[in-house]
């Protein structure tokens, strides 16, 4: 009922947002713009690769997702709305099916000079997002917009203050907890005019007040705990503070942020629950304060760019309802500390950010040797605070550009990936995955419009599925067409991985992709036949394990 009532409110808002401004469309300066994204998946059951036992493969056969944004701006008013549709979609839960459609997001924004007011769905962040970030990750059907009101006020040209309050979006409904917060951000210039030191300090605070329902759920969970596991008291409110500053001096840039979270109940997967009958099980709700320290130091010249990052995270799981898991109800964002790889095999193992216990380091060096030859090297290392190694990556690539005729890239990646932790697989039969992945890419331009790009990668590993080879050829016929053929093959399969069912273990399977893209203006249509191996899919540091895919994907992307 509450959902229906909210939908009625949405329809009224729709009228306000679009019909009234439309009356003034004829006036100068009015602008309507938007974007469309749609995915249509045709699922083809394939028991050879494990694309089975999911409703879409077993009986539904088809699933679709769509997002249609419309925005209107006129003078001091901007308004927007987004229609979302999911039909037998596998985005929310890769092993399930979700159907729903309606108004996924809407807002109205007023620019009143020094004061800016936004009502409706709010996307924003404080600092780097450690205590608050509302954003959207469509590949994971993640959208934690805050539904409420935000006000920004410019105290001076260099200082501004903002405050917001609302409830977190939950698909077409909202979670019950109230989230509120604010920040003050500034800009200072010190030093001389010739050698200025620019500072961008800020301070933010966020608080969440639990709903009665969540509080009762926590009481119900915690009253089952006995002995040392027992939590005696809990609070309705939780507070997070963050102080941050960006310093720029010449070629140096330094960002530092320190965040604190007051004692709060959260699920600690590393804690152990002892039941009444003496049995134990991993994972327990605990009540602890948390903190994060993150810093990034950069140095950049024409020839060289160097970035070093360090992040320490302890007990910083912050959700709108502490009983939610996976990607649900997350209020904040912990910056990922590994390279965002793009090649098929170098991106196969990506670590999800750990919010309970993580110590992470990353170094990135970019250099131009000559005008034609450049390169980069990246090193990242992630462990738990207790010392268990989670992830290590060393990545180096060189890029050679020959006029505008051709471009070649070559490199190598070394990885260690703690599959037991990141994918929740049994420790005694799951070794850390150690990979060595050399890769090359070559782009040749036949004419100004026509080009061919080829990729070849080989991942050598004795763990998980074993070693892979990947090849891709992409023919570009600008401005409209692009054709792609690629394949991934389990060249040296791992015969000893007990995590793989015996019926699939050791099989040498070819995973092809064949497709084309047609672009016209700002419209892009793609059609692909895809077979894809099971793997971790990450977007912005948020990751999940997705099953194998087999079928046809049709996508439309359009902006107007």
């Amino acid at each position: 009922m509450r959902l229906l009532s909210r939908q009625n409110h949405l329809l009224k808002m729709l009228f306000l947002v679009f019909c009234l401004p439309a009356i003034s469309l004829a006036q100068d300066g009015a602008n309507i713009y938007g974007a469309l994204q749609t995915n249509a998946n045709f699922f083809i059951r394939d028991s050879n690769i494990g694309a089975v036992n999911i409703p879409q493969y077993d009986n539904q056969k088809f699933g679709a997702d769509l997002w249609l944004n419309l925005n209107y701006s006129y003078k001091k008013v901007t308004a927007g709305i987004r229609y979302d549709m999911f039909n037998n979609s596998n985005l929310l839960n890769p092993t399930g099916s979700y159907t729903g459609n309606g108004i996924g997001m809407f807002f109205a924004e007023l620019d009143l000079g020094k004061l800016k007011v936004r009502a409706g769905h709010i996307y924003d962040q404080i600092g780097s997002g450690i205590i608050f970030r509302s954003y959207e990750l469509r590949p994971l059907l993640f959208d934690n917009a805050l539904f409420g009101v935000k006000m920004d006020y410019a105290l001076t040209d260099n200082w501004s203050i903002k405050g917001f309050t609302g409830q977190q979006r939950n698909l077409f409904d909202r979670y019950d907890a109230i989230v509120k917060g604010g920040s003050i951000d500034g800009f200072l210039q010190l030093g001389s005019e010739e050698n200025p030191i620019n500072l961008s300090p800020g301070f933010g605070v966020v608080s969440r007040t639990n709903s009665e329902e969540t509080t009762q759920k926590l009481v119900s969970i915690l009253r089952n705990y006995i002995g040392d596991d027992r939590v005696e008291k809990i609070a309705y409110n939780n507070y997070l503070f963050s102080a941050y500053n960006s310093l720029n001096y010449g070629t140096f840039s330094w960002y530092v942020e320190g965040s604190y979270k007051s004692a709060d109940v959260f699920f600690d997967p590393n804690a152990v629950t002892t039941f009444l009958n003496g049995q134990t099980a991993p994972g327990r709700f605990v009540r602890e304060p948390g903190n994060v320290i993150y810093t990034s130091l950069s140095y950049a010249t024409k020839r060289i760019g160097l970035t070093a990052e360090v992040k320490r995270t302890e007990n910083f799981n912050f959700r709108t309802d502490q009983t939610l898991n996976l990607t649900r109800g997350i209020i904040n964002f912990l910056p990922p500390m590994m390279r965002q790889n793009t090649y098929r095999l170098t991106s196969r193992y990506s670590p999800a950010t750990q919010d309970v216990s993580e110590m992470a380091y990353q170094f990135d060096l970019r250099f131009n040797i000559t005008k034609k030859l450049s390169g980069l090297t990246n090193f990242s290392f992630i462990r738990t605070l207790e010392g268990e190694t989670l992830y290590r990556e060393s990545y180096t690539q060189l890029l050679y550009k020959y006029k505008r005729k051709w471009r070649a890239t070559a490199g190598i990646q070394f990885q260690l990936y703690n599959q037991a932790v990141y994918e929740g697989k049994p420790r005694d039969i799951t070794d850390n995955v150690m990979t060595i992945t050399p890769f090359v890419e070559y782009l040749y331009k036949f004419t100004r419009k026509n080009s061919l790009r080829v990729e070849a990668q080989y991942m050598s590993t004795q763990q998980d599925y074993g070693s892979w080879i990947f090849g891709l050829a992409e023919l570009g016929l600008a401005p409209h067409w692009q054709f792609e053929v690629s394949g991934m093959f389990n060249l040296v399969p791992n015969l000893d991985n007990e995590n793989i069912p015996e019926s699939l273990r050791g099989k040498q399977i070819f995973y092809p992709t064949v497709g084309g893209v047609y672009s016209q203006g700002s419209n892009r249509y793609s059609l692909r036949y895809v077979k894809q191996v099971e793997g971790v899919v990450c977007s912005g540091g948020v990751c999940r394990l997705e099953p194998a895919f087999s079928g046809v994907k049709f996508e439309v992307n359009s902006t107007f």
Binding site: V52, N53, G96, L155, V205, I234, T323, G424, P426, D428
Partner: protein
């Protein structure tokens, strides 16, 4: 401006810190809500699910706490259920597969509690710590029906006769789409199971769904039910002998077999269970 900003920051911090003081909520001791209503916990599990032993431990703990008010069945329906190389038995069956799809399982371990959508329109809840909360919610609801189970097992010919007596505590019309479901489960089956650290070769699987004597979603009750008038449903089944077992089928041990009978509703997205009862087939 610097002074201005520091002043505002200080004011904000004082306001927030002063707001931090609140009355904390004391966590009470555990107690079972009074009443006659019972709850069916359908545990969606699998031998390849490393976190499922923790889920099973939670079920056992809950059964210890709630006693016979909580009845459990383990459904090995498809996801993470393909036997391990160490497995002697295959716990999958068509009923389990159909139920897993019917209950829209996500990550495992998960459990449906009286098939009520407790979280975000989902029937199966993937956080074992939450199960207790929803069991409480169900137990606090008004009881609308009693079920009396009578079983008679003949060890000589392994025939099992079951009478399910449904005693409504209010009138139910045929339009309410009631169904009767009957499951046979088995405890203490030793076989391999993954856990977060290793493959446990002699893990004890409890309340494994072996078969059903009705359709997976229940047989439709094609009549009105009258308050306090018992309606009997008869079932019979012969426990397969060891020599008649199919490949990788676990032996049927009568002493470990349990009958679970329940009355459920299927009407659109409403799939809730009205009442459930369980009984061993031997003394």
């Amino acid at each position: 401006m610097m002074k201005h900003s520091i002043f505002i920051t200080c004011i904000l911090s004082i306001l927030l810190l002063s707001a931090c003081k609140e009355e904390l909520i004391m966590i009470p001791e555990f107690e079972v809500p009074p009443g006659d209503r019972k709850v069916l916990l359908e545990e969606l599990t699998g031998v390849r699910c490393p976190n499922c032993p923790a889920g099973a431990a939670q079920v056992k703990s809950l059964q210890d706490s709630y006693g016979d008010r909580l009845i459990a069945v383990g459904i090995h329906g498809g996801f993470l259920t393909i036997p391990l190389s160490e497995s002697k038995y295959d716990f999958q069956n068509d009923y389990a597969r159909e139920l897993e799809s019917f209950l829209e399982v996500g990550p495992k371990p998960a459990a449906a509690l009286n098939r009520v959508q407790h979280i975000e329109e989902e029937f199966s809840i993937s956080t074992p710590s939450l199960w207790s909360q929803y069991i409480d919610e169900e137990l606090k609801k008004e009881n609308e029906m009693n079920i009396i189970l009578t079983t008679e097992y003949n060890p000589d010919n392994r025939e099992l006769d079951i009478i399910v007596s449904v005693v409504p505590l209010r009138d139910f019309s045929q339009d309410e789409n009631l169904r009767i479901s009957l499951m046979l489960t088995q405890n203490h089956i030793e076989d391999a199971q993954e856990d977060p650290n290793e493959v446990l070769e002699d893990y004890v699987h409890n309340h494994v769904l072996r078969t059903m004597l009705t359709e997976a979603k229940g047989d439709i009750i094609q009549k009105d039910l009258t308050e306090n008038v018992a309606e009997n449903f008869n079932f019979s089944f012969t426990l397969p002998k060891d020599e008649d077992l199919e490949e990788m089928e676990a032996p049927w041990v009568a002493e470990e077999v349990e009958v679970i009978a329940f009355v459920n509703v299927i009407e659109g997205s409403d799939k809730h269970i009205i009442q459930v009862e369980a009984s061993h087939i031997t003394d």
